[in-house]
Subunit: 137 residues, 2 copies
DNA sequence: CAATTGGTTAGCCATGGAGCTAACTATAGG
DNA sequence: CCTATAGTTAGCTCCATGGCTAACCAATTG
C-alpha cells in the first residue's frame, strides 16, 4: 500500500529541481551518457545518479546500459503530458475570462443606457488599479 | 538570505502536490475564500493554510483579506511563465528532431549515391545512430 | 456584550529528499 | 592479466515538507 504518486506529481516534483531541469534541457538536445550528463555538475556521482533515477521513475527520461555505459534519452511524451496540464488550466481560465468580459460589457451597456449616473469603478486599495482587466496586466 | 530558490523551482514544486494543483484548478474557475477552498479537503485548516502559503510564495496565487475573510485568486502570469518553459524545451526538442531527420535524409542520399559501397560509419544497433559523437549529432 | 465564525500562530512529529563517502562490480583497453 | 573507467550499492547526515493539535485574534451576529 505504498504511496502510488500520480504521474503528474512525479513529473512536477522532478522538474522542481534545477539540476534535473538542466538534465532535461540537456537531453532535449540529444541523448547522452551518465558521465557526459554529470560532467558540468559539481556533485558526487552517486548523488547525481539519484537525480537520473528520479527522472526515470517520473517517466521523463529513459536509459539503457550497453557495456559499461548507460545512455539516457528524453521521453518527450511525458514532457508533453505535463505541458497539457497547463493548457487545460489555461483553457478554463480563458473561458472564465471571456465570461467575465462579457459580464463587464453587459454592465457597461447597462450603465450607458442608464445615462452616466455615477462613477462606479471600484478601486482596489492594495494595487491601486481598477478592477477592469483587459488582457494580462 | 538563505536558499534563494528560483521562481521555476517554486512553481514546479508547488504544483507537485495534488492538493495544491486542485486549488489552482479550482481558482482557474474564479476566486474563492480560504474556507471555500478548504471545504472539499479532509485536512485541518492550518495544514491547508500552509498549502495556500506555498502557492502564494510561488507567485501562483494572490490573496487579500477584507474583514475576516481572505479571498484568493490565481495569478495567471506565473502559470503561463511555467508553461513557457515547456514550450521552450519542446522547441529545442523539435529543432533537434528536424536536424535528425535531415541527417537521416542525408545518410539515405549518401548511400544511394555511393551505390552501396562501404559502411564506414559504425551504427549502434540499439539506437540506430552512429557512434561518432563530436558535438551534438 | 456574548457567542460564532474564519483565519492565524506556535509548536510538535514523521517522512522523504538531496547531498556526502566508502566500497564494490563489471567492462574496456593495454 | 592488470588497470583504469563508468556506474552502482550501502549507509550516513541534514533539513525541508506535510500533517497534526491547541490556543489565539478579530470580525460578525444574535
Amino acid at each position: 500500500m505504498a504511496n502510488q504518486l500520480s504521474r503528474l506529481d512525479q513529473v512536477f516534483s522532478a522538474l522542481a529541481d534545477p539540476t534535473r531541469r538542466a538534465i532535461v534541457m540537456r537531453l532535449c538536445a540529444g541523448e547522452a551518457s551518465v558521465g557526459e550528463l554529470a560532467d558540468p555538475f559539481e556533485m558526487a556521482l552517486p548523488s547525481f545518479m539519484k537525480h537520473i533515477h528520479v527522472l526515470e521513475t517520473s517517466g521523463l527520461v529513459l536509459s539503457e546500459k550497453s557495456g559499461r555505459v548507460r545512455t539516457c534519452r528524453l521521453s518527450p511524451d511525458t514532457l508533453v503530458g505535463a505541458e497539457d496540464w497547463f493548457q487545460q488550466q489555461r483553457a478554463i481560465w480563458e473561458a472564465r475570462l471571456d465570461r467575465f468580459e462579457a459580464y463587464v460589457m453587459k454592465l457597461k451597456k447597462d450603465k450607458e443606457r442608464a445615462g452616466a449616473k455615477r462613477p462606479s469603478n471600484k478601486i482596489n486599495r492594495t494595487t491601486g488599479k481598477t478592477t477592469k482587466r483587459k488582457g494580462s496586466e
